[in-house]
């Protein structure tokens, strides 16, 4: 497929959006092209900006026709487990005195699954949290946990947008629908 300038695509696309024209076939191919590029850019920036690491690629390599949504399934499982773990950690951080062993254990689980999906920034914050646990620094733990939640939230939003886009691009469009 020849590389084309995104602006040119939009220009051409705009001239073809009159619904009555027999150009549906062409505009949807161009739309698909643009969506593919957008998806590729989204994916690239997730890596470039350090949100994801090599492990995510490992998961992508396990995806095949038999299991075309494998990565998304794993990530969805990760959200489910994370929600539970984050809540448990929050509850544990509310206790006084802090049970550092329990906190470390909970965070170990969360770090583990974050690592398994390639959640790079989340994993870094988890490691920091564990350091504070080891140093018996409760305030450090609480501070870092805010960072953990922030990074988790950011990643979740980005991945949800990414998979939503992937779903749009994935199946071949048979109907011509206005954008």
């Amino acid at each position: 497929m020849p590389a084309s300038n995104a602006d040119t695509d939009v220009e051409i696309m705009n001239s073809f959006t009159q619904p009555s024209l027999n150009s549906c076939h062409i505009s949807s191919a161009m739309e698909r092209n643009q969506l593919h590029r957008q998806l590729a850019n989204m994916r690239k920036s997730l890596f470039d900006q350090g949100f994801l690491d090599e492990q995510f690629i490992q998961l992508e390599e396990l995806q095949d026709d038999a299991n075309p949504n494998f990565v998304e399934e794993v990530v969805t499982l990760y959200y489910r487990d994370s929600t539970r773990l984050i809540l448990n950690i929050e509850q544990a951080l509310d206790k006084s005195p802090l049970d550092l062993t329990k906190l470390d254990s909970l965070m170990h689980q969360f770090k583990g699954s974050s690592s398994s999906i390639g959640a790079k920034k989340v994993k870094l914050e988890c490691t920091q949290f564990k350091e504070y646990c080891k140093a018996a620094n409760g305030e450090g733990c609480k501070r870092t946990f805010l960072q953990v939640k922030k990074e988790y939230g950011t990643l979740k939003k980005k991945l949800e947008a990414y998979f939503q886009m992937a779903r749009q691009v994935g199946p071949v469009e048979t109907a011509c629908r206005p954008k």
């Binding site: 390599e61 489910r80 487990d81 170990h108 583990g112 699954s113 999906i117």
Partner: protein, 201 residues
């Protein structure tokens, strides 16, 4: 005592033990993609149950499939992977033969040493990669059948001469290697690899 892969085919039946839902799903996929049959359980006690070690003296799982390899996470609530390893290695001789691989996200040398001493075949760093599984599989298949006696001799030889093998952590640092090819790497150190992990650290 020889162990043959069922039906003479190259399909291994692996029992995967991990309390993490995410990790269990991933290891299951890694194994399936590598043409292995998988049974995944979420705890050491369930693993013992499946293996029949909690009652019946039986090396066959519930569904009648013999287990060729056990891969277990180290850090699990209740029974750790190490405790599971000890239980497997101590019970009926049939089960003692099943290779056990420990997986862990923490590279603690004392931990690795302890596991290898207790009879673990390998200590893999998490997250486990496809290349790790492929390497494991070819090692297990090579060791199947009449290799049992030879394996024992080689192990003893290595224990007598710890300097003979290359990097003892070559298996535990497998996460550094990017070899995704189906065949094991050709370097001489890797053919010793299954044995080198027995080296004293």
């Amino acid at each position: 005592m020889t162990r043959r892969v069922s039906c003479g085919s190259e399909e291994l039946h692996v029992l995967a033990v991990d309390d993490s839902n995410v990790d269990r799903k991933v290891i299951e996929k890694l194994l399936r993609i590598s043409s292995c049959k998988v049974t995944a359980v979420d705890s050491g006690s369930r693993a013992l149950q499946y293996l029949g070690l909690d009652g019946e003296k039986n090396s066959v799982g519930f569904d009648g499939l013999k287990v060729n390899l056990i891969m277990t996470d180290y850090s699990m609530p209740g029974m750790t992977g190490y405790e599971l390893l000890k239980k497997i290695k101590q019970k009926s001789s049939a089960l003692r033969e099943i290779p056990v691989v420990i997986m862990s996200s923490e590279k603690v040398l004392a931990r690795i040493d302890r596991c290898l001493e207790e009879g673990a075949e390998e200590f893999l760093m998490k997250p486990v990669k496809l290349s790790d599984v492929k390497r494991l599989k070819s090692f297990i298949l090579r060791g199947e059948g009449d290799e049992h006696g030879k394996k024992q001799t080689q192990k003893r030889k290595l224990e007598d001469d710890p300097s003979s093998a290359s990097s003892p952590l070559s298996s535990s640092t497998s996460s550094l290697s990017d070899d995704l090819s189906p065949s094991p790497p050709p370097s001489p150190s890797s053919t010793l690899q299954p044995l080198s992990k027995r080296n004293r650290l």
